[in-house]
Symmetry: C2
Subunit: 200 residues, 2 copies
């Protein structure tokens, strides 16, 4: 590989690129909108990245949508090691935190240091939800399953015995990132209750 400049950096990046292909094999609880199968983390990450481009105007003015996209592309990488956690399982969510931090150390640590630190910072920012970008990214991450379940006769809600009150709590996270998407999501939830696809 002597003709390649900055050989070590490139080799580290290639190893990382090969490693993250595994995200395609991490399966979420959520289904595709047509209900045909459960979705994986990689296609979910693409989808929420697209949602950022589609719904960007529903973020607070001045939100850097391109950073939101970048954040959403990396937001689930830690699940390569830590697996997917169902957000309606509070016990699993607590245990998950430690596992995800260790995963972030390992995965982003594969990259050249400054680049790994930059990507890790995107993930930390997403998790902390303290910036408009992170709050909007998290809102889209919560919005996607509500949209899918609403258009799929409740999807995972009846399947995992999720109740309307629990979903309304998640809607609050959407409102924090985007009041208009939060309001819309709440309407979908109430409509799903009326239709009998989500239990009160």
């Amino acid at each position: 590989m002597t003709i390649v400049p900055q050989e070590d950096r490139l080799n580290a990046q290639i190893a990382f690129a090969i490693e993250i292909d595994k995200l395609k094999r991490v399966i979420r609880r959520n289904h595709l909108i047509d209900g045909s199968r459960r979705e994986n983390d990689a296609e979910h990450s693409w989808y929420v990245g697209m949602l950022a481009m589609v719904f960007g105007e529903h973020a607070p003015p001045g939100t850097d949508i391109q950073r939101v996209v970048a954040m959403l592309l990396v937001h689930d990488l830690v699940e390569i090691d830590a697996g997917d956690t169902f957000i309606y399982d509070p016990e699993a969510v607590a245990v998950q935190e430690t596992a995800e931090r260790a995963a972030a150390d390992r995965l982003f640590g594969m990259l050249p240091p400054a680049q790994g630190a930059w990507m890790r910072a995107l993930w930390d920012e997403f998790e902390a939800r303290e910036t408009p970008e992170a709050r909007f990214a998290k809102a889209l991450d919560r919005f996607a399953p509500i949209l899918a379940n609403h258009h799929n006769e409740g999807g995972t809600w009846p399947l995992f015995k999720v109740r309307a009150g629990q979903v309304r709590e998640k809607v609050r996270v959407i409102e924090e990132g985007s009041p208009s998407l939060g309001a819309y999501a709440l309407e979908l939830v109430e409509l799903s209750v009326v239709r009998g696809h989500l239990a009160e």
Copy 2:
């Protein structure tokens, strides 16, 4: 939906968001790096978006990597209507062009006009390969399957009787977008030939 501002815009964006979920069901010829199954367009789009973030320094100086990411997220949307085309099938590639333009008209036409035009312009730019961003995006789109096949005993190459000369032609597209990634890809190709995973 009266509490939602700009109701028509939001409804159009929601319809588009539901529509593009279908990209998760468009199956490519290419396999995951571990060879376990063929990949779909949505997870592929995520992957190449990540590659832009990982290999950004291998683009010509001044390349807007965030626009490359955006371009890669939308680059395969037209395949929702037009299906995946195997790049080593020249007849299919020619027919595909018309189908993809019609798909772009329909899909991006679902969005509010200015937003649809912006996303369509990203796709047109990608297809035309006249900017450094488009050339780098296309390079990553070509790089991903070579990386996967090299790490999977040739993957789709022996399966579809692809020969080294054909792959070297695709490497030229990588070189146009990124000389260093092109050089690296060529080494992977030659190494695959030596190992007997790609026929001369």
